[in-house]
């Protein structure tokens, strides 16, 4: 698994599985930049079902509103940050 550093460009995986995931649909497929590493956390996709969980590095990723909403953005230069687990990120 790639380890990302602050400033690294990343893309949120455009996955659409059913079940409990903590990656909001509006961010899937969007490109952003790692703001900080948050450390390892249990994978919610296993914790949700009472399973022993792998740990996943968790990152704060910063996006522009223009990247998320395109022409529909209210103010394109405004930004948004969200926590995304490593397995939902790929290098951009």
């Amino acid at each position: 698994m790639t380890d990302f550093a602050p400033g690294d460009p990343v893309r949120v995986r455009d996955w659409h599985p059913p079940g409990h995931v903590r990656t909001p649909a509006y961010l899937r497929g969007r490109r952003g930049e790692v703001e900080r590493r948050l450390g390892p956390f249990g994978n919610p996709e296993q914790l949700a079902y009472g399973l022993p969980a792998d740990t996943q590095p968790l990152y704060r990723v910063r996006f522009t509103m223009a990247e998320i909403w395109g022409d529909r953005a209210e103010a394109p230069a405004d930004t948004l940050e969200a926590e995304i687990y490593a397995h939902w990120l790929e290098p951009a």
Binding site: P24, Y26, F41, D78, L80, E81, E83, I84
Partner: protein
């Protein structure tokens, strides 16, 4: 401060019992019968949550406004900084995000209703509403305007979606004209909404 008032207590004890209330009573009694918990522990948990309020967060903000070293530690590790002030914030991982000229932060949880409840108490109803959860990430300026907060176009708005394990508190900008105020007087200017980002601190009189 239109959003800081408390509505009157909702009647509960003398209203007709609902299905879900009967489930709460049953679950509680079963947990006690099974030895998972006891009445004292439940009462203590209620007291502990009742004791948490925006006033605790206001003290943290006022300390950060008054003490640059504390502010640096708060921005580096907000959980440790709150523990250091003696607040029991339970299992919460807290991040403080700082407003400054040209940058305004606002916090939301689009997937559920994550909130820094172990510092400032449970979230207000509107924070958990479909309207707030849906719209804040898409049109934060319109949402803020509904709270009476209108920011210059040149000010960047940064929305924080609490998607996973961290919780967020906004460190608002210290109001002008407060150089002479004590930490206690500063804390009185800090509203709940100013720590969520849907409000600004009160102005000194």
């Amino acid at each position: 401060m239109p959003h800081d008032h408390h509505a009157p207590p909702r009647p509960d004890n003398d209203e007709p019992l609902t299905y879900w209330q009967s489930m709460e009573i049953a679950v509680r009694e079963l947990l006690i019968e099974k030895g998972v918990t006891d009445a004292t522990e439940i009462a203590q948990a209620i007291d502990a949550m009742d004791a948490r309020s925006p006033a605790d967060g206001a003290k943290v903000v006022a300390r950060a406004w008054s003490d640059p070293a504390f502010k640096a530690s708060l921005l580096k590790d907000a959980s440790a900084a709150c523990h250091g002030m003696g607040f029991d914030i339970g299992p919460m991982h807290l991040i403080a995000v700082e407003n400054r000229p040209g940058l305004h932060n606002v916090v939301v949880c689009t997937l559920c209703s994550c909130y820094p409840r172990y510092l400032i108490g449970p979230p207000p109803d509107w924070y958990k509403s479909r309207a707030y959860r849906s719209r804040t990430v898409r049109e934060p300026r319109k949402v803020l305007a509904e709270f009476g907060v209108t920011l210059p176009e040149a000010t960047e708005i940064r929305v924080h979606d609490s998607t996973a394990d961290m919780r967020y508190i906004v460190l608002p900008e210290r109001p002008a004209g407060t150089d002479d105020l004590t930490e206690e007087a500063l804390a009185a200017l800090v509203t709940r909404d100013s720590m969520i980002g849907t409000g600004l601190p009160r102005q000194p009189e």
